[in-house]
Amino acid sequence: MGKFVVIGERIHCISPVIREAMATRNPEPILKRAKEQLDAGATYLDLNIGPAERDGEELMKWGVQLLQENFDNVPLALDTANMKAIEAGISVYNRSKGKPIVNSADAGDRIGYIDLAAANEAIVIALCSKAGIPSDNDERMSYCQEMLERGMMNGMEAEDMWFDPLFLVIKGMQEKQVEMLEFIKMLSDMGFNSTGGLSNVSNGMPKHVRPIVDAAMIAMAMQAGLTSAILNPCDQRMMETIKSCDIIKNNYLYADSFLEM
C-alpha cells in the first residue's frame, strides 16, 4: 500500500479571498494557499472554482497553469459544476506528477463526470449517492456498482475510480457514522481506492473541538481502509495523525523524523 493521499481543500471559491482572486485573476492569494498546503504535506491540491457558469473554461485553464507552473506540475483535482471547465483544465494539465482528478461524479445527475474522466484518462471521485444521502450501505453499494460499471464500460481502470462514502455531519447524524466506516471497509476489501470530504463530520462544532474530532475520524477511517481524503492539510493535528497512521499501517517506512516529511 502506498502513502495516504492528501488532497488540500483550501483553494475554494467559497473563501472570499480566493473568490476575489479568481474574479480578478490575482495569483498571489492562490499561490500563497497552495504553498501553505504543499509545505504542510498535501499531495494533490483541489482547485474549486464553484459553478463558474460564465467564464469557467478560461478560469480553470488559468488556475491549472498558475498552480502547475509555480509548483513543479503539482497534481490537481479539478472541482466545479461546469463540465466544460474541467475539460478545459485538463487540456492544459501536465501529468508528469500525477493524473488529474475530476471532482466529482455521483450516481445521479453527475454520472456524466465518469464519462468525462474516462475520455480524458483522469481519475474520478465517485460519490456513492444519487439524490440526497443514501439511507444505508446497501444503497451506497448499489450506487458504487452503477458507477463502477459505467467506468468499466468506458474503459476506465478501477484504480482510477476513487469512491466517496459520503462523510456525514456528526451533529445530526451521529448514528450513521459507524455504518459509513463499515462502508469504507467494504470498499477496501474489494480493493477500491476511496476518498471524501472529511471535515464535514465536525461541521457546526466549536472551533477548538473540530481538529480533535477530525483527527479521530481520519484515524478510524484509515483503519477501515480509506486511501485518500480532501481536507485542510494546514491542520497540524490532522497531518500528524495521518502520518502516524501511515507508519502504523506500514504504508511508509518509519524514521525518527517522519513527522517532518
Binding site: L253, Y254, M261
Partner: protein, 313 residues
C-alpha cells in the same frame, strides 16, 4: 499458449549519483527494477566494482595480491596497478592506519596519500575512513579540500559525524558522501533525512546500509536491502532512493574462513582460495540484494564479479 511477459512496474526509481570526472566518471543507480532484473526494464547503469587499496600498503600474506602488486613501492604505484585491474570501475582507498587506536597516522599524512592517488589514476576515488567517527570527520574535510574538483566519494557519514561531513565534504567542497548505517533500515532512512536537512542534494549521497560476510548474519543485510528497494521502488520513498555502495572486502577478509591456515584446517583447503570465495560470494549476494557497487580487494574477486555483472546485464 504463448508466454506473456509481465514486467513489474514501479512508481519509483533509484537516484543516480556520479563519482569521478571525465571519461572515467561512474554513474551509480537510476534503475527502476528489482536488483539485476534487467529483464523487467533495462538497467542503464550496471552495478560497479571498486578496488580497495590501503594506506598501509598491500597484503603480502595473500599470494595473489602480493603477486599482483609486486614491485609497487609507493601508494601511487599501488593505485596505478589497482586501476589497471580488469573490471575495476573505481579505486577505494582505505585509511585504516589513521585510526587513533592503531597507527594514528596524521590527517596531513593521509591527505598526501590521497593526493598521490588522485594524481596517479584517472578513475573515480572513494575514500574509506578509519572507522573512528571523529577522525573520519577531520580526514574527510581535509581530503575533500585537497581533492576539490575530483568529485570523490567519502565513506562514510554516520549518525555521529554527519553534520561535519555534510557541511565540509558535501557542501563546502561539493564532493559525494556516503551515509552509513549498520543494518538498520529505519536509521538508514533517518540518516538520509538528516543529511538532506543539512542541505546536501540527494544526487550527492549514496548509502552504505551495512554488510556482513556471507554466513555471518547476511540474512539481515539481505532483508534490509530488500526493504530499502521495496520502499524506494514500490512506495516511491524518496528518502531511500539513493544508490547503495557496499564495501565487502573488509568483512570478507576478516572472518575465520579467510584467515585460518591450511595447516590448522587441512580439510578446508588453501587459505587464499577460501578468502576469494568468501569475497565473491558476499559481493554476489550484495549485488543480488540491491548494492549498486561493491568494493573488493583480490584481483580474482574483481574479475569474477565484473564477469558476473557483465553476463547478467
Amino acid at each position: 499458449m504463448a508466454f506473456k511477459r509481465n514486467p513489474q512496474k514501479f512508481p519509483g526509481a533509484t537516484k543516480t549519483v556520479v563519482i569521478g570526472t571525465g571519461d572515467r566518471a561512474v554513474t551509480l543507480g537510476g534503475e527502476n527494477v528489482m536488483p539485476l532484473y534487467s529483464f523487467d526494464a533495462p538497467i542503464e547503469n550496471r552495478p560497479k566494482v571498486g578496488v580497495e587499496i590501503s594506506d598501509s600498503g598491500y597484503d603480502k600474506n595473500v599470494p595473489g595480491i602480493a603477486a599482483y602488486y609486486a614491485g609497487a613501492e609507493t601508494i601511487a604505484d599501488i593505485a596505478k596497478k589497482a586501476a589497471a585491474m580488469p573490471g575495476a570501475d573505481f579505486i577505494a582507498i582505505s585509511l585504516e592506519g589513521a585510526d587513533p587506536n592503531g597507527e594514528n597516522k596524521s590527517v596531513d599524512e593521509c591527505v598526501e596519500l590521497c593526493k598521490a592517488v588522485g594524481e596517479a589514476v584517472d578513475l573515480p576515488i572513494v575514500v574509506l575512513g578509519c572507522k573512528n567517527h571523529d577522525k573520519d570527520a577531520k580526514l574527510f574535510e581535509k581530503i575533500s579540500d585537497a581533492l576539490q574538483g575530483k568529485n570523490i566519494l567519502v565513506m562514510s557519514a554516520s549518525e555521529e559525524n554527519y553534520k561535519t561531513v555534510s557541511a565540509s565534504a558535501g557542501l563546502a567542497y561539493s564532493q559525494k558522501i556516503g551515509a552509513e548505517s549498520a543494518v538498520d533500515i529505519n536509521l538508514a532512512k533517518q540518516l538520509n533525512v538528516l543529511i538532506s536537512q543539512m542541505g546536501v542534494a540527494a544526487d550527492n549521497v549514496v548509502m552504505n546500509v551495512g554488510s556482513a560476510a556471507a554466513g555471518y548474519g547476511f540474512e539481515y543485510v539481505a532483508s534490509t536491502m530488500d526493504r530499502v528497494k521495496a520502499a524506494a521502488l514500490a512506495q516511491n520513498d524518496n528518502m531511500l532512493q539513493n544508490p547503495i555502495v557496499t564495501p565487502v572486502s573488509d568483512d570478507a577478509w576478516s572472518v575465520k574462513e579467510s584467515i585460518v591456515s591450511e595447516a590448522d584446517f587441512p580439510e578446508w583447503g588453501p587459505t587464499e582460495k577460501r578468502g576469494v570465495a568468501m569475497e565473491i560470494t558476499t559481493a554476489a549476494a550484495c549485488l543480488a540484494s540491491g548494492s549498486n557497487a561493491v568494493i573488493l580487494r583480490h584481483p580474482e574477486s574483481v574479475a569474477a564479479i565484473a564477469k558476473f555483472i557483465g553476463e547478467l546485464m
